[in-house]
Amino acid sequence: TQLLEQSPQFLSIQEGENLTVYCNSSSVFSSLQWYRQEPGEGPVLLVTVVTGGEVKKLKRLTFQFGDARKDSSLHITAAQPGDTGLYLCAGAEVGAGSYQLTFGKGTKLSVIP
């Protein structure tokens, strides 16, 4: 199973700042998901991107899928304390088992009021 590398591992910022987190791999993915996990809870699906170069917006969150479908980024504008959590990316590899996802280890975001 190919790895999905997420960076940074940890990020602590002040409320109102902007940030970007990255998800990179050498594998090509047919789709890629972003999840947010709050402490003590399960991951919650935020978005799925499927087309190279695709950009999706969810309020202050902007998700981009790389042109080659090997990487993705999540940009948060004017971060709020409610954005605090672990952000996970997960991809469905082209040619791999049809129901499995490869997960990154996550970026732990803390937004300080």
Partner: protein, 115 residues
């Protein structure tokens, strides 16, 4: 909305005990998964099932078994719990491939402590 529920949020067991973790989903998903999540190691797949009575080993199946007698229910069994199985256990479900981009929906997790 997809709903995945897990039988316990917190569980404390003793070394050597048999432990059952149950997961139920209400969206008629074909696939169900069990993961464990540990700091620094991320999510690791223990077992998954793509149909009733069908199961496949994931990356770390040792010390675990699973049962899927009904489509909506997937159970994880620790035959003889050990302290290194202390972890957060997450259940997930998804539609079969081709229809939903492999999106997985997670339960709230069970925090298991083995003393």
């Amino acid at each position: 909305d997809v709903k995945v529920t897990q039988s316990s949020r917190y569980l404390v067991k003793r070394t050597g005990e048999k432990v059952f973790l149950e997961c139920v989903q209400d969206m008629d998903h074909e696939n169900m998964f069990w993961y464990r999540q540990d700091p620094g190691l991320g999510l690791r797949l223990i077992y998954f099932s793509y149909d009733v009575k069908m199961k496949e080993k994931g990356d770390i199946p040792e010390g675990y078994s699973v049962s899927r007698e009904k489509k909506e229910r997937f159970s994880l069994i620790l035959e003889s719990a050990s302290t290194n199985q202390t972890s957060m256990y997450l259940c997930a479900s998804s539609f079969s491939s081709g229809s939903r981009y492999n999106e997985q929906f997670f339960g709230p997790g069970t925090r298991l402590t083995v003393l």
